[in-house]
Symmetry: C2
Subunit: 215 residues, 2 copies
DNA sequence: CGCTCGCTTGATATAGCTCAAAAGCTGTGG
DNA sequence: CCACAGCTTTTGAGCTATATCAAGCGAGCG
C-alpha cells in the first residue's frame, strides 16, 4: 500500500470533503489517506490489515490472469466500504481510479466487528452474484445498460452521471473489449438514449429505454 | 419451500448418512429435511428464514432473466452451508440437484450468529468474485477446466469425480451453451485428459494438463 | 503547434451460438 | 427380457455477436 498526499488537490478542497465520522466505534481516530489516480491500495496476496471507507474518489477491485487479462469485480464510489474480502490474505487488487481519499479501519485486538461487517459482506456477495448474471448471460448492450442503470442508481438517480473509470475499466468490468464498449455507447448516443458532455460525464435522456434493456 | 420425504431412498440409507451434529449451538435440535431432485428449497423474493447445511446431495443457486436465461451462481455440495445471502428477502432461487438432505438453521431471537456467519459469507463472496473472472475473461475450455479442477478439489482431489449436475446446469454456471460444454468435454476426452464412466462419473487422467488450462 | 494517449470507427476473423438430427440412457409395459 | 417413449447428450453445419487488427480523431499538455 502506497498512500500519497496528492499535491494536485488543494488542501482546502480535501478537508472540505470530509463529512463522515473521523473516529471509529472504539473512540480511536481513523486515519485518512490520499491516493493518486492509478495507485495501488492493496495487492493480491497481501495480508489483510484493514478495511476502507471512501471519503471521495473511486476504486476498482480486480484480478488478473497470467497473460494479463483482467476482470474488475467491483467499482466502489464515495461513501462505500471495501477491503474486508479475505480471511488472511487479499484475493484481489485494489487501485484508486481517480484521486481518492480513504479512511482506514485497522482491526483492534479484542474488538469483534463481525456484526457490522456481516451486512456489508452480504451486500457485496449479492452484488457479485448479480453481476455474474450480467456477465454470464447478457448481451453487450444489456451489460452496458445494466452498468449505466447501476451507476445512475448509486449517484442518486439523477439524469447526469459521472463515469470516473476509463472505457478499458468498463470493458474489464463487463467482460467486453474496449471497442465493443465504445460501439455500444455510440449506438445508444445515436438512438438518443444518452448524451455525452465530455467523455466522463453523460446524460441519460431515456432512462426507461435503458432500464428496459436490462430486462 | 416444499420439503418432501423422498420415498425412493430407503430410510436406513438416509439415517446412515448423518455424520453432522444434530443440535445447534444453542442446544436446540436442528430439523433435517429431504428434497427430491429438482425441488425448490427457496425462491427469489422469499423472506429469509434460515440457512442450511447440506447433509448429502447437491444444490444449485441461480437467478433468471425475464426471457428464461439462467445463471447459476453456485453449486453447493455435502457439508457446505448456504442460504444466508440476503438481508430480508432472497435474491436467488435454490433447488436440489439430486435427492438432498438439509439441516435447517432457523434464526433464534436474541442470538447473534454474525461471528460464525461472517467467514462463510466472505468465503462465498470471494468464490463469486473469482468465478466472475472465469465467466468474464476465460475461454470455453478454460472455464470447463476451472470448473473440473474446482469440483475435484471439493471432492478431496481424487482422480474420480462425480458431477451431480446436468450439462445444462454446467452451461448455466459457466455462461456457455450445453452444446459447447459437451463439445469441450469430448475434446478433453479425445485428448486423454478425461475418461467418462457413465455421464456423471468422470476420471481425471491428466490433472496437470487440466490445471495448466486455468492459468 | 504538434505529441500523446485514450477513444472511436471500420474491416475482417473467429469462438461460441443456433438449429437440426442422431445416439445414448432410463423407465414402463407387455 | 425386449420394445418403445421420452429424456439428455453428442455431433454436425452454418451463422452471428463480439473479438481482433488497423486506421483515424480529438482533447489535453508540453
Amino acid at each position: 500500500m502506497n498512500a500519497i498526499v496528492d499535491t494536485r488537490v488543494p488542501f482546502e478542497i480535501l478537508t472540505a470533503l470530509t463529512p463522515r465520522p473521523e473516529v471509529a466505534n472504539d473512540g480511536r481516530p481513523v486515519p485518512l489517506s490520499f491516493f493518486h489516480a492509478g495507485s495501488e491500495i492493496y495487492a493480491q496476496g497481501e495480508k489483510v490489515a484493514s478495511h476502507y471507507q471512501i471519503e471521495f474518489g473511486a476504486v476498482r477491485i480486480y484480478r488478473l490472469l497470467a497473460d494479463g487479462r483482467r476482470q474488475i469485480t467491483a467499482f466502489h464510489l464515495a461513501g462505500e466500504t471495501f477491503g474486508f474480502e479475505a480471511d488472511l490474505a487479499h484475493h484481489f487488487f485494489a487501485e484508486a481510479i481517480v484521486t481518492t481519499g480513504l479512511r482506514t479501519f485497522r482491526p483492534v485486538a479484542g474488538l469483534d466487528r463481525s456484526r457490522e461487517l456481516l451486512p456489508l459482506a452480504l451486500r457485496c456477495m449479492v452484488r457479485a452474484q448479480e453481476h455474474l448474471l450480467v456477465v454470464g448471460r447478457q448481451t453487450a448492450i444489456e451489460r452496458i445498460a445494466a452498468f449505466l442503470v447501476d451507476m445512475a442508481a448509486r449517484q442518486g438517480d439523477l439524469a447526469q452521471i459521472e463515469l470516473p473509470m476509463s472505457r478499458q475499466d468498463i470493458g474489464d468490468y463487463l467482460g467486453l473489449t474496449i471497442e465493443t464498449v465504445s460501439r455500444v455507447l455510440s449506438r445508444l448516443r445515436d438512438k438518443g438514449v444518452l448524451k455525452f458532455h465530455g467523455l466522463r460525464l453523460l446524460e441519460i435522456r431515456k432512462a426507461e429505454t435503458l432500464r428496459s434493456l436490462c430486462e
